[in-house]
Amino acid sequence: MIEFRHVTKTYPRTHTHALKNVDFTIQKGEFIYIVGHSGAGKSTLLSLILRRVTPTEGSVHILGQDLSRLRSYRLPLLRRRIGMVFQNHRLLPNMSATENLVFALRATGERGNLEHRALLALRQVALAHKRKAYPVELSLGEQQRVAIARAMVTNPPLLLCDEPTGNLDPDTSWEILELLNDINIKGTTVAVATHAKELVDQLRRRTIVLRGGQVIRDDETGGYSL
């Protein structure tokens, strides 16, 4: 599903080694944490998966495709198969919850009853009753749920989350994590970049620990300890 082969990423302007010789494989259906302090390389790793940046050395294979050989015009097709959730949900403020989802569907060229599909996705995150609410009318936790619904509305096989609980209180964070776990149980591969120690320790899953751009631990039994 995701394969990093000796990946190094250097940002030439700052001469920073964001990642150094990173090598791991994530299988289909896995739930994995990518943990590390700020600047450890978590965001760069996610950016490489989305091919927002390209590796300086090594190769990244996503859903069976070598991203270095992927033509630019095929990039949107890859991204349609990857759902993405951010710390700051990135919902469009001038659109209701349903409209945000419909917008994502429309942007990917989906046709048919998009409102119905959006409603089904909102139902899966238990927010069908807030379908007409605008982001500003939702709590932070609800906003993040809508963002997860938007990421999942196209039924991607892979869901990436970049600090999805960063702005949330512990209870809400736990709800979000349970939601991600439910999505994983239904068959979607989930990768969560986080530094929320309690959550990682509470719901133990495979954990890749990054420090200074290097993988210092890849542990099936999980746990946050750096």
Binding site: P76, L77, M84
Partner: protein, 286 residues
């Protein structure tokens, strides 16, 4: 349909930038249209002048008029050559100036054989005039070359100024579109980011902005035509009343062609301007 809705929404939302673009484009296109009409009319006048212009050569008494006529008729630039005898010349003169009829009867006809030429290209007038002067048997030549040269110089200057104006005005219209679309892109930066993340194609992201550019171009072309068509009709009417001798371009086909060209140019500027803007943004954004 979605792209069109988004484009119209962007125009409404960024109405200050849209109006500024429309103003700049309309002004540029109006100046261009005015200049094109001026050029069209100068060309028309030049054509008329070409039709009316005659070279006149007066032959010496010793000349063989038929031999001169034959020589001149063989020149490539000469469309027609007419030989007028002294008697016919006098008759023509009396028709124009009846009061000389009586005095002319008292003296021998002083007029020589004269030769009237029409040329295919008025710019050759001076050269043909010189060649005529060199011919044996030709005493004097009237070529009206100064008038032609003035007209040709005006035409050349207009062409030069026109080329510079086209570049300057189209560039300003293009930059206006580029800036307007950039403002629209900035306003929709978050939407574009979401579109890219969910896997929207470049075409899907670009299309609302391209439509916006084309729409602004079309609108400014229509505004220009609204200004230029009645404006030109009014000016042409006033000129035809005061300067009756001046031929003015009234051919509906020529004016329709000019209008179509203006619309096509505006659409092209709109399309190219928005394409530049959106490509630049998508490239910068990775």
């Amino acid at each position: 349909m979605y792209a069109l809705r988004q484009a119209l929404r962007a125009i409404r939302k960024n109405w200050i930038a849209s109006i500024s673009t429309l103003t700049t484009m309309t002004l540029s296109l109006t100046i261009l249209a005015g200049f094109s009409l001026l050029s069209l009319n100068v060309n028309l006048n030049l054509g008329e002048l070409q039709n009316e212009l005659e070279l006149a050569a007066y032959l010496s008494r010793s000349a063989d008029p038929q031999a001169v006529l034959e020589t001149v008729s063989g020149w490539g630039e000469v469309v027609s050559a007419e030989l007028v005898s002294p008697d016919d010349a006098l008759e023509n003169l009396i028709t124009e100036l009846p009061y000389i009829e009586r005095p002319s009867a008292q003296v021998n006809n002083p007029l020589p054989y004269s030769l009237y030429l029409r040329l295919s290209d008025p710019s050759q007038t001076a050269r043909v005039g010189e060649a005529l002067r060199e011919l044996p048997g030709v005493d004097e030549v009237e070529d009206g070359g100064e008038a032609v040269e003035t007209f040709l110089a005006i035409n050349e200057a207009l062409r030069l100024i026109g080329s510079v104006l086209i570049v300057v005005l189209l560039s300003s219209a293009l930059f206006a579109i580029v800036n307007s679309i950039r403002a629209a892109i900035t306003a929709r930066r978050d939407e574009i980011e979401v579109m890219r993340l969910v896997g929207a194609t470049r075409g899907f992201i670009r299309s609302p902005f391209l439509i916006e550019g084309v729409f602004l171009g079309l609108l400014s072309a229509l505004l220009t035509l609204l200004l230029v068509v009645p404006g030109y009709s009014f000016i042409a009417l006033r000129l035809s009343q005061t300067l009756r001798f001046l031929p003015l371009e009234r051919d509906p086909l020529a004016l329709a062609q000019l209008s179509l060209l203006l619309v096509a140019l505006a659409l092209l500027v709109g399309l190219v301007g928005s394409a530049i803007s959106v490509s630049q943004y998508l490239q910068e954004d990775g």
